[in-house]
């Protein structure tokens, strides 16, 4: 009969109490998984959307471009650099883009906005939010798979304002790298709607090769390399790997550096969520402490017997801690059973809150998806069980110390 088995059996002396305490731990696991998972999904969704709108999770640009964007600050050998960056550890995809300012006109109206040169073959729906949000038309690729060099994609609001539809002509005007004003005509091949008014009003996508030619950037040039990795948390490590792969002469930045407002939002929201989880943890810890303390006080005589027959105080301490660890493990298992179907539901179906919202929620130029899903970061699979483990041990310290400090002679006087 070792301590592990003895502690397990002790656990079942008060089945109801053990189950209630374990269920409270399970509840904490469920809450932590739900809140951390939904928040993680939201951060990933926001950062992912932002990444697919321009900069990627990690961006490579010419020095000074991020502080003062201009097409003259370009990467001349962007294609070979993209190839090098693709081989860096953690990189899923690298997409060269030309980002500049332009004027967009029809016979009736003119508006200004962002000109985005994309490679339709690489800027797929997965990598490009505008392509993903296409409501009409196609993504600058013909049926034969060839790039539609004379096409463009515009936002729904611009289409409405400029009275454009698929097939309409749009004149776009920009300043090339030599400072000359250049103009081209493009036909509208696609219309997207992101939900963000400014974006839908002022963004035009062109084939990158067309933009390179017209703006005299060079055949392999881009103003930015948008690098994608599997999750937003890993961006710092990917930045370092990419930086090493592409070498000096360019600036490699994470989304936190290129999107500081969004990074701050994520940081503050994450901190408040963690404080909330800590408070829940403290409430659960109080429950465990109560259970363990009652267990020790009710068994004073028996624990005194163990000391009297020769159990060392530190072993008795370990016995009580082990009992608490069992409660924690049981809570983790019950929590896991509770969480699995719930997490699957959130992951696959989600909770649609759009009916509750009168206006869409926008953070850092990205529309928040009102169907909540769940996504756990790799770290959560370790952090949540570890937190439960610390919680159960921390909560048992006082009862365990009390048990270890019992004087057998006094404990033996306690009546059953």
């Amino acid at each position: 009969m070792d301590l592990v088995r003895l502690s397990w059996r002790n656990l079942w002396r008060s089945k109801r109490r053990t189950l209630i305490t374990s269920l409270s731990v399970a509840g904490a696991v469920w809450m932590a998984t739900t809140f951390l998972g939904i928040a993680e999904w939201a951060y990933n969704d926001m950062v992912g959307k932002s990444a697919t709108m321009g900069f990627g999770h990690v961006s490579v640009a010419a020095p000074g471009y991020n502080d003062d964007p201009s097409i003259s600050k370009r990467i001349a050998n962007a294609e070979s650099m993209a190839k090098a960056a693709s081989a860096a550890r953690g990189v899923q995809a690298v997409v060269p883009r030309v980002v500049g300012q332009g004027l967009f006109a029809t016979a009736r109206k003119t508006t200004g906005g962002l000109l985005l040169g994309i490679d339709p073959k690489r800027d797929t729906a997965e990598r490009n939010l505008f392509v993903k949000k296409l409501e009409q038309g196609t993504a600058l690729l013909g049926k034969d798979g060839k790039v539609d060099d004379g096409g463009c994609i515009i936002g729904a609001r611009m289409a409405k304002t400029l009275q454009l539809e698929l097939g309409s002509k749009l004149v776009w005007t920009a300043t090339d790298v030599e400072g000359e004003i250049v103009s081209e005509v493009a036909r509208v091949r696609g219309i997207f709607q992101t939900g963000v008014a400014e974006v839908d009003m002022g963004t035009v996508l062109l084939p990158i090769d067309k933009a390179r030619r017209v703006l005299k950037l060079g055949p392999e040039a881009a103003t930015i390399l948008a690098v994608f990795n599997h999750e937003h948390r890993a961006s710092a490590a990917v930045r370092d790997a990419v930086s090493k792969a592409v070498g000096p002469g360019v600036e490699v930045k994470t989304w936190q550096q290129t999107q500081p407002a969004m990074a701050s939002y994520v940081q503050v929201d994450r901190a408040s969520n963690e404080i909330f989880q800590l408070l829940i943890g403290l409430v659960v810890a109080a429950g465990i402490l109560n259970t363990m303390l009652m267990g020790v006080l009710e068994r004073r005589r028996e624990l005194g017997v163990l000391l009297a027959i020769g159990m060392r105080p530190r072993r008795l301490f370990a016995l009580v801690i082990l009992e608490s660890v069992w409660v924690g493990l049981l809570g983790l298992v019950l929590g896991g059973l509770l969480v699995l179907p719930w997490a699957y539901f959130l992951y696959s179906t989600g909770i649609d809150l759009s009916g509750m919202m009168t206006e869409q929620l926008e953070v850092g130029g990205v529309v928040f998806d009102m169907t909540l899903h769940l996504r756990l970061a790799d770290a959560h699979y370790f952090v949540i069980p570890f937190a439960v483990f610390c919680l159960t041990i921390g909560a048992a310290l006082y009862p365990a110390l009390k048990a270890a400090r019992l004087e057998p002679i006094e404990s033996l006087r306690v009546l059953d």
Partner: protein, 236 residues
Amino acid sequence: MNASASPIVELREVSRVYHQGEFEIRALDGLSLAIEAGEFAALCGPSGSGKTTALNLIGALDAPDSGTITLQGRDIGGISRTERSELRRDKLGFVFQAYNLIPVLTAFENAELVLMLQGMPDKERRERVMAVLEAVGLGELANRRPDELSGGQQQRVAIARAIATRPALVLADEPTANLDTATAESLLDVMEKLNREQGVTFLFSTHDQKVMDRARRIVRLRDGKLVADERRGEEE
């Protein structure tokens, strides 16, 4: 067994004073006593005479205010809590009035508990425990939990637990107090047999005449002092 061997435990001028508010209770007052290997001895006296206090001091469950207690030649007066635990584990066996078995453990597991604390290997431990359970007549009931055993059977398990480690001395505090006459006699038979056949040394604290009738040495206490020390038995 021969009672003329060197003392297992020796008390010299031992005093223990308890304080209850303003009152001072002198539970033991200069007690000197030696218990030798193989003895089957009883500390007797009325309530408050100091017999349980003496047993607690000998069992390293308490420490004296003055005087010295030596167990197998080692002064146990000033040793640490952990050392006292180890001493109780390795040198002493305890039988309590209320049996004090661990309710979640079977008879076998209760009996093996101290051996487990000693770190005895599994195989040796199992053999030892089965042997002691057989010795106390409980070989068939090894897998029963305390609540499935009668009072007498529970006390036999307690004896098995106490003797499993082959201690220098078994201290039994009123072991028959909760048992009916027949069960108490049967239990005393077991302890007497262990004493005679295996040389287990027993020291009882009792005011049960049945125990006193069986004991080969009666140490009488009154007001914490030794008033009589009578030896009897086959050696006389």
